[in-house]
Amino acid sequence: MPTNDPPSRRVVITGAGWVTPLGRDINEVWSKLLNAQSAVAPISRFDASTYATNFAAEVKDFDEAQFDSTDHKSAGRSTRFALAATDDAWKNAKLDTNPIDPSRIGIYTGAGEGSPDYDPYLRATIGAWDHDARSFNSATWGAQALATMSAAPEIEQEPQLTNLHIARRFRVTGPSLNCMTACAASTQAIGEAAEIIRRGDADAMIAGGAHSMIHILGITGFVRLTAMSTRRDDPATASRPFDVSREGFVMGEGAGIVILESLESAQKRGAPILAELAGFGSTADAYRITDIHPDGKGGAGAMARALQQAGISPDDTDDQGRPLVHWINAHGTGTQENDKTESAGVKSVFKANATKIPFSSVKSMLGHLIQAAGAVELITCLKAIETGIIPPTANLKDPDPACGLDHVPTTPRDTNPQGGIKVTLSNSFGFGGQNDCVCLTRFEP
């Protein structure tokens, strides 16, 4: 087993920003979450009326055009989400007034691919099908695509363009990485970004994720996988993690960005310290591309390693008999398999303590933001630490005994009488078996 070395440098969070299906203002979105408000509704971005899943949690009232007259005029939708979230996090961290050497600020995102310029793309693709020969004609496709598609939308689909736009907007030039580990991506990005600061390769990192798969082929892909809920008659209740009647996740979109910083840099600048990033764990299931290991051992390994790095024992309790972890933000997608195996993983890590730890999923309200999910959910952990309140799992009427944990159904929980929230875990598990977990702690000097 790895040694539990004291980390070479402590890493804290000094700023946060997000663009979510429930809005952009952090406190406003937080109060909606505590009210169990759902952002899920019929898809408006294209005509999905005949799709088996015709609803999603879309970002509404977001002014994409705000970037049109800037350096980012060709940026795709999810990159614009990321820029807005970074604007807020940057200000929040007082980086506009109390700066850091920009070469010591890096970027680590789990930023998803952009979406195609559908009209010319699908016209060319339809036109290249030779009905008589029943075959695809690549010369026809190439000629039409070259004539009708343009460079900028194609370039902007490259996932690393999100990093480049952020870098140019804030003139930061430190280490720049983008990981695409599907639903685990932005938790992994934040965890690895913290490691970059710990080892001294940067003093601060813009870390998080952005993604929108609410477009024709994005929705198509998940409809074909039968991974999404098809509760067409009642979209607002479709995302119901841990409920016996759950039947798939609901797609969301958005971005979440945090500013990670070495403690000494944050203190030197007089930046607000929102929490400490105390631990990170990352594993692979190495099991199957379509299924999670039934024991949930990959997720369990990630949680155990994050706790170990944070120096927190999963078996211990405090003087009041309360476990040391006060909330686990579940990956909690609302698929039969995820919720069961994730719960099994929690039980294997926390044993007797498992049922005493609140374990809820905000995907019940925000949907699943795919690559952006982990970052947005980590910001809910910041709010939980700040307020002592745990957001509920909405739509959870009939908890599945096969999950069997403390799922905080439908109403939030105030932990202040027990001393509030000092330690949170946030889980994100990717399709194909990548598992990541980040442990935040209330900052204590």
Binding site: I107, H131, A145, L164, R171, E192, G432
Partner: protein, 436 residues
Amino acid sequence: MKRSVVITGLGPICSIASDAPSFQIAVSSAQRSITPIESFDPSAFRAQLAGQVTEPNIRDMVPKPYRKATKVMARDTELAVIAAKAAADDAGLKTRGSEDDDSGFTIDPARSGCNIGAGLIACDTAELSRAVATAANDDGSFSDSKWGTIEPGSAGMNNLPPLWLLKYLPNMLACHVTIIHGLEGPSNTIMGAEAGALLSIGESMRIIERDDADLCFAGGAESRVNPHGLLRWELSDKLATATTADDPADSCKPYDPSSQGCFLGEAGGMLVIEEATHAQNRNARVYATLAGFAATQSLTPALPIFDDEPTDSDEGLERAITNALKDANLTPGDIDIVYPLAVGIPELDAREAGAIESALGPRADQIPWITLTDKVGNTLAAHGAIAAAAAALALSSQTIPDSPTRSPSNPPNELRNALVCTPSLAGQCAALVLSR
């Protein structure tokens, strides 16, 4: 004490090589393989040549029970899986991917990681074409309502296979490799265009240094030798234009102002890297030590979406090299050979050369520069691993390859340290220092 990380296995699968031994021969004799595109008719495009991998076949590179899963692999994933198998074999590793019986593995799954650079995977245009043709309006545009399948009798999107999406998720490269070889440690998929593999190797090195793993499969794989991949690059105007009648050597010429651009190359590059005592304990052959790594972001990659003035330097790349040397506790005078990207686009080559010259000072003119892009195409996410494999072979065999792209009058007598560095499409830069 800082844990030391060494390279023990090479899987450089590209147009000139199907395994480590053939790669060594091809690289040391400066072979080139840029050939007419065979997998589809490229006649609509100005660039009709590419670096192509013809062997080995994916089915021969996975355990028999896994052959069925090759049907859901994009070409990029096939190349990653092939390269990983080649690297594991070259490292003398016994994993569940190398043996049909499951006994006697030489790796501890929980302590073995996998970080692979990947690119934006283009979906199979032919497969999509057949499917979307069933959902066309009379004017040739796409009909969402015909595509959806809620109405009885509509086939629409059901013409795509159920696992269609899984073929194109970039993390599938690492997923298949982790499943095949049983790697349960940290696993990542890093997107960085030409910098993807170097970033993945560097991050793997850090994961081993910080004691989260003892061994990692690290590298990258990508194939843009498909209609959409070629289209994306042709729209960006970065490709050399050559048809079957032309000699590729006349079109893509690193550091030559008359060069037209690059060719695309498909490749999978994978290294097995290990903590030094882990390698020693299993008597592994060590090619080289990973001595230093750094990554940066350059703000002005020459992309047509920005209104930047052209520049002849790349501050980001220069700083990546300087920081990697610092990380290795070395100075420019310690570097004896350099492996740049050199895509063959004159303005990009000039910027890159300028950055290397600024970072290395006079040393830049005293050492050979070895380029691979002109020989195997721009292999994008695989590039850094292919170049690092070449550097590792040069160091272990103490041989300077034939015909360096830039050759000093007095080549060094010995090769102590090699620099592998690259800029990239979106400005991510990475530099890696390898030591004998």
